[in-house]
């Protein structure tokens, strides 16, 4: 299956994030030029430390493989004893590998060998159309620049992966003092950092934490908080869950911070909700969070928690109770606090419910007149894109397919891609597939669901979304009327039904009805 550009970009950032923080930027540069630069390049990498070099190469190769680029390694040593042999080995690989790692042991490239390589370079460039990555040390690179200036001028780039001295750490640009972190840097507005900026920030924070294990715990609060939110934002839910449970909750407990514990519990519940563990989510909201905020007299947090409870009720089709909470428990608080963003968000949720009830005109009015202007004014691109998506939902329901498709592709997708929001991007792709299906472009719709949507939910462990997309794929396959498609469809539907039933979601019953209607047996769970 071909990996999409977006997915490759996500992998690239993930791989960069898996390396020591100070390698993040160089890895980004190197991987980008290998993926997107010309077919032939000669790149020099200063990587004298074997372990770090292996780590970088492994991270790099995972990305290159995902992009469909074949990689070959040529260690210089006994088997490749001179440049002529190196040239032969490079020629032998022509057409087989798009990227060749030439790994030079210390001292292998001396002045004579650089000279020998220099005189062959034009021929190698003409015949070996691959990206040649020379893994060397600073001494060998200096020799290349000294011994063969025209060869040096020919370099595609120089990249350095050198171990940091034990005392060094990466400091966030522009910061000063002991802690480079400010508490809640984006607390008062949307986080508009790109995926790459967030990954870089994750690397920065981890590096800082690694080098400040013994600082006072109070100093750890802000970086740990930001790190958890960033992990969640980039879709690394497992890491976020582990972070909140194993690092942040114990920290708040240690500090006796009741509010901090309740907020962190809420974040854990956010992840569990995406995994369909709704009973546990409701328990956390009602038992771990609400009582704390009530006791602390924090009306805003209390209202927000009520809103989260309403979210779960909506998922369980308890629409009247959800609407009551929104209108009676949430909205008045935000209006009292003059919190325009939260008010707008709540109105959006109300519009969702109205839409489910078929009150499309009122839902559309709320989104266009109450929500969009607020998000525009706040510069909240994510919320604006989400709202545009909901407007597209209504247009789609009314049969205005072209305009709905335009909004999905031009107003929503680019924003989520830039923000690195894998979930919202997948959701949007799913909506595009719906539209294509409605226009009769069945193959493309199926491709999107299989390649762009389903893998994301699988990776995120989002049981509900995965089951729903699987059932959509299955229903489309059923229309094909061939035995192979029918068998696959049956298998997908049974698995989806089992998942939905297991987590007690109402869609399980709907799916069972659909299966019966089509003459399929519903498995007993």
């Amino acid at each position: 299956m071909a990996t999409s550009d977006f997915e490759i970009e996500r992998l690239r950032l993930q791989a960069a994030g898996s390396l020591p923080a100070h390698c993040f930027d160089e890895f980004q540069r190197l991987s980008r030029t290998l993926l997107h630069g010309p077919a032939f390049q000669w790149l020099l990498v200063d990587a004298p430390h074997e372990l770090l070099r292996e780590q970088v190469m492994a991270a790099l190769d995972s990305v290159l493989h995902a992009a469909g680029l074949q990689v070959h390694r040529l260690p210089l040593g006994r088997r490749i004893a001179d440049v002529a042999t190196l040239e032969k080995r490079l020629l032998k690989n022509v057409g087989k590998a798009a990227v060749v790692h030439v790994i030079g042991s210390q001292g292998w490239f001396d002045a004579a060998r650089w000279d020998a390589f220099n005189v062959r370079r034009e021929r190698i460039a003409a015949e070996v159309r691959a990206r040649l990555v020379f893994w060397l040390d600073a001494e060998a690179i200096a020799l290349a620049s000294h011994g063969a200036p025209d060869l040096w001028a020919w370099r595609g780039g120089v990249y350095a992966f050198t171990p940091l001295p034990a005392t060094a750490y990466v400091r966030t640009e522009g910061s000063s003092g002991d802690s480079p972190f400010v508490r809640f840097p984006y607390q008062y507005g949307p986080d508009v950092r790109s995926m790459s900026e967030r990954r870089r920030r994750i690397a920065d924070i981890r590096a800082w934490l690694d080098n400040h294990a013994s600082v006072p715990v109070d100093l750890l609060v802000a970086p740990l908080d930001e790190l958890g939110r960033l992990l969640y934002d980039v879709g690394d839910y497992d890491a976020a869950l582990a972070h909140w449970r194993e690092r942040e909750l114990p920290l708040h407990r240690q500090r006796g911070d009741e509010r901090g514990m309740a907020v962190t519990q809420g974040r854990i519940a956010d992840v569990l909700q995406t995994q369909g563990q709704l009973d546990e989510v409701l328990r956390i909201r009602r038992e771990e969070q609400l009582p704390v905020f009530e006791r602390l007299g924090d009306s805003r947090e209390r209202a927000m928690t009520q809103g989260k409870i309403a979210d779960v009720l909506e998922l369980r089709a308890q629409l009247d109770e959800a609407l009551r909470i929104r209108r009676e428990e949430e909205l008045p608080v935000y209006e009292f606090l003059d919190d325009v963003r939260s008010r707008a968000m709540t109105q959006g949720k109300i519009a969702d419910v109205l839409e489910l009830r078929g009150q499309l005109d009122e839902a559309l009015r709320i989104r266009r007149e109450e929500l969009l202007p607020v998000f525009e004014r706040l510069g909240d691109v994510r919320s604006r894109a989400v709202t545009q998506g909901r407007i597209a939902d209504v247009l789609q329901a009314r049969g205005q397919l072209d305009e709905a498709l335009r909004i999905r592709r031009e107003e929503q997708l680019p924003v989520f891609e830039r923000l690195g929001d894998v979930r919202e991007r997948a959701v949007t792709q799913g909506r595009i597939a719906d539209l294509l299906e409605a226009r009769g472009q069945l193959d493309e719709a199926l491709r999107i669901r299989r390649e762009e949507e389903l893998p994301v939910y699988e990776r995120l462990g989002d049981v509900r979304s995965r089951a729903l997309v699987s059932s959509q794929i299955a229903l489309q396959l059923l229309c094909r009327n061939d035995s192979e498609s029918l068998a696959e469809a049956r298998q997908l539907l049974e698995a989806a039904y089992a998942d939905l039933s297991r987590v007690g979601l109402p869609e399980a019953q709907l799916l069972a009805d659909e299966m019966r209607e089509r003459g399929l047996t519903v498995p007993s769970i």
Partner: protein, 455 residues
Amino acid sequence: MTYRPPVNILEVLQKIEYDEALPAGDERYVETQEARGSEHTFLRLARKFGWDPASNAFFPPSDKHALFFGHIGSGKTTELRRYAERLNASRRYYVVEVDVLLKLDRNNLQYSEALMAMAETLLERLLGDGHALDDADLRPVRDWFETAIKTRSTQRDASAEVKAGAKAGGGLPGLVTLFASFTAAVKTGASQKNEWRQEIRNRFTTLAAAFSQLIRAAEAELQSCGRAERVLFLVDGTDKMRGEDTQQFFVLDAEQLLAIQTLAIYTAPLHLKYDGRLGGKLDADMVLPMIKLHEREGSRCEAGWTALTQLLLLRADRRVFASDADIEQLVEHSGGHPRELLRLLRLCCEVADGLIDGAVVQRAIGQLAADYRYFLKPADYALLAAVDADPAQGGNDEPAQQLLHRLALMQYNDGRWRRSHPAVRTLEGYQLAKAALAVRPVLPVTAANPPVPPS
């Protein structure tokens, strides 16, 4: 279809290839004569070969072998292709472009192979353009080969390919095949190359005369059909030979090049002009100047800024950059060197998330400067700072030549003044050297007055 520069940074990145000289007619070409201060470069070159473009007066020398110098990556090949186009269009010259790197193995390249490649390319061009030469004119060269093959046949069977070529038939096509088989033979094996080299050396006078006669015949044919009056070879790639081959080719074997009575231009590395070993045999006047961003006294050279901005915006659409100030920063830090500008652009593409903005540009400049850190030594920084303090000085010793060769030092106006690479000036080593210089008077850099300040 009209050319449009790429608007996506990944597409920009994909299309940057440093070694690519722009062919004539390429839409990415930017006129740089005024920017280089080289309005007279073409005029001087043309006059060297006997043609005055202004008056169309024409009186060519019987032979002239001129070198064309320039920094690595400064646009020599691109410019020469434009010159070739103009010279061809004059109908005074039949310009034969020979890319020795394409035809021959750069490894151990000597005049013998270069001359053979020149002859082969001339014959190919004539044949391709539908010209024919009398067998009598081709006979001396063919005879030379036949004798050589006989001689070689008494030794090892090293001439199988050439022997096969000799049987390819008569006329121009047969001779083209014969030369092609020769270049193929010397390209495949070191031993064959050495044997042929020896053969050419032993009987060079005969070969030189035969080759010169062939050129005369070609010129007669070209004159008779009104196409041109003289053949002019433009030999490219000779600026990229290995160090000792460069010395051998341009210094020790210069007499052999001069033995061919023809008009020829050879590209040559800039450091060769200043190391004093050329000895006045070859014409070594012509330098392709760098694009100037500033005049010697520091005032802005607008033509340079305009040309490089234009060059940049033909490689990346204006929408890729956040502001004009970012473009200006990139141009400024290229020092007027086209390849360095492309290198900066590439670095920007490697680090930018979306637009190329001020922060991206600063990272790119820092990264380019870091490349120089690999080879610059404290003494180099001191020399660069000294040259910047007095651009007219800088000496011509080995360290200065090395810095010129590696682009840490750039020279303008045909070498009348020099300045350090602007990216290098951002390095701490340079800053320290500059600060040290501020407390010392600027003296000419000599052995008695070394550039390294006392610690």
